[in-house]
Amino acid sequence: MKKNLPLVGLIFLSLVVQTTALGAFPHQLTKPDLLLILTVYLGLYSSPLAGAILAFLAGYMMDIFSGSIFGVQTFSKTAIFFLTILIKDRFYVENPLFQAGIIFSFSIIEGFIVISILGMVSPIENLLSPFFLFIIPQSLITGLIGPFFIALIKRVLILSHGESVK
């Protein structure tokens, strides 16, 4: 439990940065989803139970600060966490290109999950327009930043309790 506290701090910090400083991102409509990168990190390196709790927390925190239907981000982040676990043993996860690719892909998948839930719950016209408006740009930005942010997370964890990260 104690060793996961820095990760809780990182979730908190990422959320604060995402809701403030990243608002000034050049393309105002999209910004990198730091919590998605953190969720993928949890899927790659954390234990299933602790990782699931933290991914759930990351999504829940996003839902608190987000509009519309509560629980959408909680569900999508948790789903992304388990999808990461499913595929992680089949690839060499330390490769930054793989990390960028997986984050890009999962960002798109998360977009589809959100669209699907929104489509089921509320009648929104032309649900596919967000695909080009938000999902593609956000996935590209998040994928590009992903490997750097993962490296930063590792660095922070090493500094926080001198623990070697897998």
């Binding site: 809701t19 600060f65 987000s66 509009g67 629980g71």
Partner: protein, 281 residues
């Protein structure tokens, strides 16, 4: 036997955890679907804990931005100053005209006994956070129930309407912007008095819907709030018609609206804390 059970659990633990956590998340969605405006105790507690940090970072980034504006762009200051002086002169002229029109309008309004529609009190609030996702269009302001802010109250800026209060905690409130997919405002076209419904597009634009196709709407027309519904006072600026979509069939025409408020640069807003709803006789 016990060892066998443990080994089965170990083998399927990821699947078991996946089922438990995903079901919990789905139950969360299901339980909150009909209570969009309500925050559970844990939610507002987390909101209250996190928001001061957002406030601090927002102030810091604003301060850095102001510093850059003040010093780095000093080179263009002289040229900008000349242009601004010219603009001030034009705006003064325009202001005098508008004041005259406002006085006339006010007198007529009093005559028609419509004064009750005017909001009595507005509470200034600072924007301290934006929606963490790219999906929804909400902002977080530094005023909550302790300051008299309640769910459903209109939020405006000097440029026009911003949105309405979606959720509140004691010191903070979440505001749903008019650009959000779930937002809709009853509106009229100022010139022709054509009526319609303004809905968010998810980006920085809105759409005017359900305007009868026989009504006169042109690009460049200003769209204002109609006052119907009681949430927004009548006459607040929404935006300008930029494009019209009128098919050769159907009852309605649609139009794209360029909003008057630049949401990317919005820093402060006003919450209308006291309104008199419009009553349709």
């Amino acid at each position: 036997m016990v060892e066998k059970e443990i080994s089965i659990f170990r083998r399927y633990r990821v699947s078991i955890f996946a089922v438990i956590f995903l079901t919990t998340a789905l139950l969360t969605i299901s339980s909150r679907i009909n209570n969009v405006g309500r925050l559970a105790f844990i939610d507002w507690a987390l909101l209250e804990i996190t928001s001061p940090f957002q406030k601090a970072i927002t102030y810091s980034t604003d301060a850095i931005g102001n510093l850059i504006d003040s010093y780095v762009f000093l080179v263009n200051l002289k040229r900008e100053n000349v242009a601004l002086r010219k603009m001030v002169a034009e705006l003064r002229k325009e202001n005098n005209l508008l004041m005259e029109k406002a006085i006339t309008s006010e007198r007529l309004r009093n005559l028609l006994q419509f004064s009750k529609k005017i909001p009595r009190s507005m509470l200034p609030a600072q924007i301290i956070g934006i929606d963490p996702s790219s999906w929804f269009r909400t902002i977080l302001i530094d005023k909550g129930t302790k300051h008299g802010v309640n769910r459903g109250m209109a939020v405006v800026s000097p440029e026009g309407i911003v949105g309405h209060v979606l959720q509140t905690s004691p010191h903070y409130s979440k505001v749903l912007l008019i650009t959000d997919f779930n937002s809709s405002v009853d509106a009229i076209v100022q010139r022709s008095r054509a009526k319609g419904l303004v809905e968010g597009n998810g980006d920085n634009r809105c759409r005017l819907k359900y305007a009868e196709r026989t009504q006169d709407i042109q690009p460049g027309d200003r769209v204002i709030t109609s006052g119907l519904g009681g949430r927004y006072p009548k006459g607040l600026m929404i935006g300008t018609i930029s494009k019209i979509q009128k098919k050769s069939y159907g009852l309605f025409q649609y139009a794209e609206i360029m909003l008057n408020v630049n949401f990317g640069k919005l820093e402060e807003v006003f919450v209308i804390t006291e309104t008199h709803p419009v009553e349709i006789q």
